[in-house]
């Protein structure tokens, strides 16, 4: 074990845990800044999606990971941010104004959704947020004078100070917003507000007895989380350059919950890992799908199977690979596997791998296992 000697309380919760960490984040940042010059436009576009999802992941981390409140209606906040952006842009509001305003506006919506959260817990809260998402979707579809209903809305490319943003400059805008959102989230988590969220999550009774106004902090968590998602919605609208109600369906909300389940709810790093997974899983599955027929062919040849058998196997494999809903099945299995075997998500796995190399060659599998508990923590 390494114990750092600290000489004053001012540095008790620094932005970077160590100089080495600061160095590696700087390297990552340099890589991300150079990305438009290194990557093909397809991968740059994927990076933008990852950043938008990461912002939503951060929003959900604050709400679910920190404050312990469930939401399966976050697509609605994304929609509110996106439509706010489309309308604001139509009326000639500049980007520097409507981007933060999208956050504020969605934050107010989040505050209102947070009000029922004061009385609801767990599954009931989940259902309430789900209902909210359906209501928002329906309103967008019906309010044709503003939203053009199911026809959707086209967005012209974003412009900053009269300068049209191309895909590369838009990438830098997304990067800037992502970094700012993550910094804001870190500051919240290491402050009195963040500790109050944590207190509400772990024991509401104790939180109240410590003087925490649980009602106020729950709505604050909802407003913050919604506001951040609204900003992601603004970026999303520009990225897609066309928005319509079905882009903000239940499936999207579930995608968002998967970000933090797969990534891990404990830290913000989890939100980023989860976003990478959710965005990159699709293209990886497609690549895999293209390879499988030739792989099976090679396999059947290697086994010297008769032609008839080869054809039958090929047909079977193709049917499975092209079956509709295969992706959902795979994602479903992944979620179940994560919940059972890695409740801390990719982030937990990351920490263990890191600990393994730190302790090498002394690391033992058992030391990574959480201690057994016989108190309240176990019963949860």
């Amino acid at each position: 074990m390494v114990h750092r000697v600290r000489t004053d309380y001012g540095d008790s919760d620094p932005l970077f845990p160590s100089k080495a960490a600061a160095f590696w984040y700087a390297v990552l940042m340099a890589g991300l800044l150079a990305a438009p010059y290194l990557l093909e436009s397809y991968y740059l576009s994927q990076l933008v999606f990852i950043m938008i999802y990461a912002i939503v992941g951060v929003a959900l981390n604050i709400l679910s990971g920190q404050a312990g409140q469930v939401s399966i209606g976050h697509a609605a906040f994304l929609a509110i941010g996106a439509y706010f952006t489309a309308v604001a842009q139509k009326y000639g509001v500049p980007l520097v104004l409507y981007l933060p305003l999208a956050g504020v506006f969605t934050g107010i919506a989040g505050y209102l959704v947070g009000l029922p959260a004061l009385r609801l817990h767990g599954i009931y809260l989940a259902i309430a947020t789900l209902a909210f998402a359906f209501i928002v979707e329906e309103i967008i579809a019906r309010w044709e004078s503003v939203t053009h209903g199911n026809e959707g809305l086209m967005l012209p490319p974003p412009s900053l100070f009269g300068w049209k943003l191309g895909s590369e400059s838009f990438y830098y805008l997304c990067l800037l917003v992502t970094v700012l959102v993550i910094l804001a989230a870190i500051n919240i988590i290491r402050s009195s507000t963040g500790r109050s969220f944590m207190a509400i999550r772990d024991s509401e009774t104790a939180a109240r007895s410590m003087g925490i106004d649980t009602a106020r902090y729950k709505t604050t968590a909802f407003a913050l989380s919604a506001g951040i998602t609204g900003i992601a919605g603004a970026l999303y609208a520009h990225k897609m350059s066309f928005i319509s109600p079905e882009m903000f369906s239940l499936a999207v909300s579930i995608d968002f919950v998967m970000i933090i389940i797969i990534g891990g709810m404990v830290s913000l790093r989890g939100a980023v890992f989860g976003a990478i997974f959710m965005i990159m899983a699709d293209p990886l599955l497609i690549i895999l799908k293209d390879r499988i027929p030739s792989l099976t062919e090679a396999l059947t040849h290697a086994l010297f199977l008769p032609d008839a058998a080869t054809q039958a196997i090929q047909a079977g494999v193709l049917r499975v690979v092209n079956a509709p809903g295969l992706k959902s099945l795979i994602f479903g299995i992944i979620i179940i596997v994560f919940i059972i075997y890695e409740p801390m998500g990719l982030d937990g796995r990351w920490l263990r791998v890191k600990a393994y190399f730190k302790q090498f060659p002394l690391a033992r599998q058992r030391s990574a296992r959480p201690p057994r508990m016989f108190l309240k923590s176990e019963r949860r």
Binding site: D8, Y9, G10, S12, D13, A184, N187, I188, R190, S191, S192, T193, G194, R195, S196, M198, A199, R201, D202, S203, T205, A206, A207, R208, S209, M210, G211, I212, D213, T214, T220, L224, P371, M373, L375, K376, S377
Partner: protein, 252 residues
């Protein structure tokens, strides 16, 4: 003006009167203990005082102010802190973070200031940290500073809960069975700490306790409850010698 007064406090859950017309007063600086058999209404009384429950009738007066209708968080804001019989710590957080939550009422920053981590936030964080460290010094908890509560033994958690309540900066500390689940050694240490908190930090202590040796060692006065009613009030020896108390405990 008395320091803390409970007047004719009553609470009914359906047909059950859990606390029935209880009245007592605390002098500033004393250690006052409530004893009684299981189900006597001791913890209910505590929950009434810390306003987790709402009384059906009666009044609670703290330093001349009627606090009967305040919310639980406002009670903490007035300087009344409590611990719980079954430990209500924030288990996924470290000891230090638990203590810092206790400092909540001293924090004056708004969420937007927290987001920007303004100078004021940074200064307050240092002040909170210093206060938490001082409490850790008193209760010798430094070695558990960064350990997650879930990984600590029960006896230590019990002390951490007292520490967290002290971080609130209370003038009145409510301890709900501070020695339950502790062994003899830990109980002795707890008794020393209660005395130290009372004498050195000048905190008035109201506690519920079963361990009579601990009760007689630290209490200035004792109140005995049974079936929500007051049986006896006085010094530890007086109450233990009271015929009704003996009858309630021995079932005679």
């Amino acid at each position: 003006m008395t320091f803390f007064d409970v007047k004719n406090l009553t609470v009914k859950f359906g047909g059950l009167t859990a606390v029935d017309d209880v009245s007592f007063g605390l002098n500033e600086g004393e250690v006052f203990t409530i004893i009684g058999p299981n189900g006597a209404g001791k913890t209910t009384l505590f929950n009434l005082i810390s306003r987790l429950y709402t009384p059906s009738a009666g009044q609670i007066i703290f330093r001349g102010e009627d606090v009967t209708r305040l919310s639980a968080q406002q009670i903490a804001g007035r300087g009344i802190a409590r611990t719980f019989q079954n430990i209500e710590l924030f288990e996924s957080a470290s000891t230090l973070q638990n203590l810092l939550v206790g400092r909540h009422r001293h924090s004056t920053t708004r969420p937007w200031q927290d987001i920007l981590r303004t100078k004021k936030v940074r200064e307050e964080e240092v002040a909170h940290r210093r206060a938490a460290e001082e409490v850790m010094d008193v209760l010798r908890l430094q070695r558990y500073r960064d350990t997650t509560i879930g990984a600590l033994p029960y006896g230590v958690r019990k002390v951490i809960e007292v520490a967290r309540a002290l971080c609130v900066g209370p003038t009145l500390l409510l301890l709900d069975e501070p020695s339950s689940g502790l062994n003899v050694e830990e109980t002795n240490a707890m008794a020393e700490w209660i005395l130290e908190i009372n004498r050195r930090l000048r905190v008035t202590v109201l506690m519920v306790e079963h361990d009579m040796s601990l009760v007689s060692r630290v209490s200035d006065r004792v109140l005995a409850l049974n079936y929500g009613k007051m049986m006896a009030i006085g010094t530890s020896a007086e109450v233990q010698g009271h015929p009704d108390v003996i009858a309630a405990y021995l079932g005679a």
